[in-house]
């Protein structure tokens, strides 16, 4: 029992890093431009299909494919920003929800046409890692390591590089940033690109672990929302912590009750946090 619990906790933690990475994409965009990106899930799904095509159809190593997927995710984000997001930044919140939801519908529509809604699988295994009684598939370990590395890179970028600092400046005070010569529109576009990139990379990592359809993004989008509320809206560190909490819950809950209870408990937690601590466990940005 104890061993099983420990294995579940570790399993959950590993998955939690990927959840955290996905949620960071969502929370970064919100933190910088106060847009809730309702296309987050479908963008993740595109990341899944990106890794699938590059690895299964074109024979690339899935982790190598991830690099290309990241680049494509950035480009996709820049395009979405230019077409759908930029013009509604100063409009009432409902406009940005509708705009990103429209993008969501378009991706799902096109995706269904191309890929249908049947499940896909990135078939690829690297064996397992045994730590005493605990056996971990290398896929899981590697995805968690990549998620951690991506998180570290994001932090390095935001806190140590001029464009990263400029993005933080724009998120804190857009007018003041302009007054310092920072092209704020470029920085907003870049943030959306990075948010989208994080979503596709997280999606790509998920694809190396589970089978998926074009609709799979919705589940992860919902998880990202729970995580973001858990960790504090607009707070990337909070997203990481929230991701780990959610991952561990998903690992541990099935040890005690049926798996189908997991989403119920997640949503109850979501509502509870909103009621009791709406600024999230770590506080908003």
């Amino acid at each position: 029992m104890l061993e099983q619990l420990l294995a579940s906790v570790i399993d959950g933690l590993l998955l939690g890093f990927i959840y955290g990475l996905a949620a960071m994409g969502l929370t970064l965009i919100f933190g910088v431009m106060e847009v809730i990106n309702l296309a987050h899930g479908p963008i993740m799904a595109l990341g899944m299909f990106g890794v699938y095509y590059l690895s299964m159809e074109m024979g690339l190593n899935p982790y190598l494919a991830l690099i290309l997927v990241a680049v494509l995710g950035m480009v996709l984000g820049l395009v979405i920003y230019g077409i759908a997001v930029h013009r509604i930044l100063d409009a009432p919140e409902l406009s940005s929800l509708l705009a990103t939801f429209s993008v969501n519908m378009m991706i799902i529509g096109l995706g269904t046409a191309f890929f249908t809604t049947s499940p896909y699988n990135v078939e690829f295994s690297m064996g397992s890692l045994s730590l005493g009684p605990i056996i971990l598939p290398w896929n899981r370990v590697a995805s968690a390591i990549i998620a951690v590395a991506a998180t570290a890179l994001l932090y390095f970028f935001l806190y140590r590089t001029p464009p990263g600092k400029a993005i933080r400046a724009v998120s804190q005070n857009r007018d003041a940033a302009e007054l310092m010569g920072i092209p704020s529109t470029t920085m907003l576009a870049l943030s959306f690109g990075i948010g989208s990139m994080l979503a596709t990379v997280a999606g790509g990592l998920v694809a190396t672990l589970f089978s998926f359809t074009i609709l799979s993004g919705a589940t992860y989008e919902l998880k990202s929302f729970v995580i973001v509320v858990l960790g504090g809206l607009g707070n990337p560190a909070g997203a990481l912590v929230g991701g780990l909490i959610l991952g561990v819950m998903e690992g541990v809950i099935p040890v005690f009750i049926e798996t189908s209870w997991v989403p119920v408990i997640e949503m109850v937690l979501f509502v509870l946090i909103l009621l009791v601590k709406p600024q999230g466990l770590l506080g908003a940005k």
Partner: protein
């Protein structure tokens, strides 16, 4: 030579016109003051000059080149720098990061070390607190960081909106000393200041703004001796 020339500019917010046909010139190396009561449009004019607001009419020339429609970040990068009312620091960032962001443009980056030395020397207090988040500083310290950040931007024109608002008399004196020193070093400055007497005492030229129009202008001495100004703004 006029570094900045504002010609017949009108501007406002949404449908509401605030500035009416305003013209103003800044001479190189001179300290120019803009005075006037609350809500007459001084901040609006500064925001229009830097490009945070788009002029409805009129033109703005910078070193003889038209910059009327340029974006705020482009103008800032060329040296039209505003230390805004209420300081507008990046409050979740450290003093050092704020100074660093002041020098974002290539022009400013090229002079980074020299400007940083100057800022440290002018404001020893902020040098001691480089790693403090600016949101946790007192009003006076924040104003020093705001001026320091503006200087890091390598200004051709330094505009300061409400230098001393809400600060203790001692700090106000300190900041005016700094201003005098900047003037001595040849900076071209446009100052908005509610302490009209002090502003007129240190500036070369002055504009009096009322109801979104230039009501009066002249050398500071002329303006200070104007009967209307003495009664309305100096309380003499």
């Amino acid at each position: 030579m006029a570094v900045l020339e504002v010609k017949n500019v009108s501007s406002g917010y949404g449908e509401v016109q605030i500035l009416w046909d305003v013209s103003l010139q800044l001479e190189k190396g001179k300290l120019t003051s803009m005075v006037g009561g609350n809500g007459v449009g001084k901040t609006t004019l500064m925001r229009t000059i830097v490009g945070l607001l788009k002029p409805w009419q009129g033109s703005i020339m910078f070193n003889g080149k038209e910059v009327t429609k340029l974006s705020a970040h482009t103008k800032a990068a060329e040296g039209i720098v505003l230390v805004p009312e209420g300081r507008q620091l990046f409050t979740d960032m450290t003093v050092y990061e704020n100074l660093e962001l002041g020098a974002f443009s290539p022009r400013a980056k090229a002079n980074f070390s020299r400007n940083l030395e100057m800022v440290y020397e002018m404001f020893p207090r902020i040098k001691e607190r480089l790693n403090q988040l600016t949101g946790t500083m007192s009003g006076g310290e924040q104003q020093m960081v705001a001026v320091g950040r503006g200087l890091m931007a390598q200004p051709e024109i330094l505009m300061i909106d409400e230098l001393s608002l809400g600060l203790s008399p001692l700090l106000v004196l300190d900041l005016f000393q700094i201003l005098l020193r900047l003037k001595g070093e040849g900076y071209t400055i446009l100052l908005v200041e509610q302490n009209v007497q002090m502003a007129l005492a240190i500036s070369d030229y002055a504009y009096v703004v009322a109801d979104g129009k230039i009501e009066l202008q002249g050398t500071s001495k002329e303006v200070a001796n104007n009967a209307h100004v003495r009664e309305a703004y100096l309380g003499i």
